[in-house]
C-alpha cells in the first residue's frame, strides 16, 4: 500500500519537476492563487486530481471606497490554469500540491497611446498538509487545519522590449509565501443545507532579486459559505469572503503608499458530479465592497471552472462513490 502511495506521489511530484524544468528553460513563473476549491479532507488512500482555469479582470481605480477615473490605466487581467492534487495519507492527514501556468498576465495602459504589457509563465508551486482535528462518522461535521508554503519556482524577471516588467505583472510572486488555514464544515444529518467557514492567513517573505526589494503585506481571508445539495449530482454554494491585505514594504522598511485593502466578495458556485468519480465546478467572484488605502486598481470580477477526478487506492470492496461536499 505504501508503495502505491509513494508511486502516486512520485508521479505527481515528477509532473511538478518536469514543469519546473520547462519553466526554467523558458522565462517566467507564477503567482499566488492557491488552495483547493474544496477545503474538506479526503479519505485514506484516495487521490483527487483537479485542473482549474481562472480568469480575472480589473479595470476600475478606487480611491479609498469610491471609484476614480484614471485614464492612464485601461485594464489588467490574467488567464491562469493550474493542476492540483490532494492525497489522503490517512483519514486524518492529507497532502496537497498545486502548480499553474499564466497564459496571459497583462495590463493595458494609455500612455502616449495604447500599450499592452504582457507576461506569461509558470505560477508558484504550492505544497501543504492538512490535518483533520475532528470529523464525525457521517462526515457531516469536520474541523481541519492546514499549513504550507508557496515556492517561487521559475523565472521572475520578465521583460518586454528591453524593459523589465513591474512586479505586479511578473507571473511569480517572487518570494516564498507561508499559509495557514482553519476549516469547519457542518451539515445536519440528511439535511440538504450546510455551511463551512474558512480562515486563512498568508505571510510573504521579502523579494530580494536583482531588480526588486519588496515585501507584500500579509493577507487575511475569512469566508462563510452556505451549501445546498439539490440531489446526489448537483450542489450550490454561496460564499461571502472578506480579504484584508496589509500594506507592502520596500527597502529600508519603508511602507509603500497605495497598498493594503479590504474587499468583500460574493462567490456563487455550482458543482456537478458525474460518472461516479468526476466533478466539475463553476465559480464566480464578484467584489461587493472595496476599501483601498490610497489609490489602487481593483478587481471587477473573476471566474473559474474546474474538473476533478477522485481515485481510490483502497481495495475494491471498500470503494465508495465520491463524496464531495
Amino acid at each position: 500500500m505504501i508503495g502505491r502511495l509513494l508511486n502516486s506521489l512520485v508521479f505527481s511530484m515528477t509532473l511538478c519537476l518536469i514543469t519546473t524544468k520547462v519553466d526554467a528553460q523558458c522565462c517566467s513563473a507564477g503567482n499566488p492563487v492557491g488552495g483547493d476549491l474544496l477545503q474538506s479532507s479526503i479519505g485514506k488512500h484516495s487521490l483527487r486530481l483537479t485542473t482549474q482555469f481562472k480568469h480575472s479582470f480589473s479595470d476600475q481605480y478606487y480611491y479609498q471606497d469610491h471609484a476614480e477615473d484614471i485614464p492612464q490605466i485601461k485594464f489588467s487581467r490574467f488567464n491562469y490554469m493550474n493542476f492540483q492534487f490532494i492525497y489522503g495519507v490517512s483519514d486524518k492527514f492529507n497532502v496537497f500540491g498545486e502548480l499553474g501556468y499564466f497564459f496571459d498576465k497583462s495590463q493595458s495602459v494609455n500612455i502616449q497611446g495604447n500599450h499592452l504589457f504582457q507576461a506569461s509563465g509558470i505560477g508558484d508551486l504550492t505544497l501543504n498538509a492538512k490535518y483533520v482535528v475532528f470529523a464525525n462518522r457521517n462526515k457531516t461535521k469536520e474541523l481541519n487545519i492546514s499549513g504550507g508554503v508557496k515556492l517561487p519556482v521559475g523565472a521572475f524577471d520578465q521583460e518586454q522590449e528591453g524593459v523589465v516588467l513591474p512586479l505586479s505583472l511578473q507571473p511569480s510572486n517572487g518570494s516564498t509565501k507561508y499559509t495557514g488555514s482553519l476549516y469547519y464544515f457542518h451539515r445536519p444529518f440528511r439535511s440538504k443545507l450546510g455551511f463551512y467557514w474558512v480562515s486563512t492567513i498568508e505571510v510573504n517573505s521579502t523579494i530580494q532579486s536583482k531588480n526588486f526589494f519588496y515585501k507584500y503585506g500579509n493577507v487575511y481571508i475569512n469566508s462563510l459559505s452556505g451549501t445546498y445539495k439539490l440531489n446526489d449530482n448537483i450542489s450550490f454554494v454561496l460564499q461571502a469572503r472578506a480579504e484584508i491585505r496589509a500594506k507592502d514594504k520596500r527597502e529600508d522598511n519603508q511602507i509603500v503608499s497605495s497598498t493594503g485593502s479590504t474587499v468583500i466578495f460574493v462567490a456563487p458556485m455550482i458543482q456537478y458530479r458525474f460518472l461516479k468519480n468526476w466533478e466539475t465546478t463553476l465559480q464566480a467572484d464578484y467584489p461587493v465592497y472595496k476599501y483601498v488605502q490610497g489609490s489602487q486598481l481593483t478587481n471587477k470580477y473573476s471566474y473559474s471552472i474546474s474538473l476533478a477526478r477522485k481515485i481510490s487506492f483502497r481495495k475494491k470492496i471498500e470503494d465508495k462513490p465520491i463524496s464531495f461536499k
Binding site: 502616449q112 503608499s257 497605495s258
Partner: protein
C-alpha cells in the same frame, strides 16, 4: 507501527522532494557588469527628476560602442521602451519616494551599467 514507518518514509520523501525543487530554483544571471572597455556610457539623462503621481519622464542613455543592446530596469514603477535608447517612466501611486532606474548596455564584448534616481511625490 507499520503505519508510523510509512508516515516517516512519506515525510522523508516529501522533504527530499521539496529540497530538490528548491535547489532547482532558477537563479538570476550573475554576469558581471562593467567588464569591458569597448562600451562607454556617457550619461543617463531624465527629462524630469521630480515627478508627481501620473507624470512621465523620458530617460535617455548616451553610450558609445558597437552593436549595442539596452536593457532597462526600475526597482519601483513602470517603464516602456520609446526607442532603443529612451524609455518612458511614469509615476504610479505605489511608487512614492526615490526610485532607481538602471540601464545596462551590452555587446559581444561585455556589459556596462549606470543608474539614475527619480523622486515621486503625491
Amino acid at each position: 507501527m507499520k503505519n508510523i514507518k510509512g508516515y516517516f518514509r512519506l515525510l522523508t520523501f516529501c522533504f527530499i522532494t521539496g529540497l530538490v525543487i528548491i535547489a532547482c530554483k532558477k537563479h538570476d544571471d550573475i554576469v558581471p557588469e562593467n567588464t569591458t572597455n569597448t562600451i562607454k556610457i556617457d550619461s543617463l539623462v531624465p527629462t524630469k527628476r521630480n515627478l508627481v503621481v501620473w507624470e512621465e519622464s523620458y530617460i535617455t542613455v548616451y553610450a558609445k560602442g558597437q552593436n549595442l543592446k539596452y536593457k532597462w530596469e526600475a526597482d519601483h514603477g513602470s517603464m516602456m521602451g520609446k526607442d532603443s535608447t529612451t524609455v518612458t517612466y511614469w509615476a504610479c501611486p505605489s511608487c512614492l519616494g526615490n526610485n532607481t532606474i538602471k540601464c545596462v548596455v551590452s555587446n559581444e564584448s561585455g556589459r556596462v551599467s549606470d543608474t539614475v534616481m527619480v523622486h515621486v511625490t503625491e
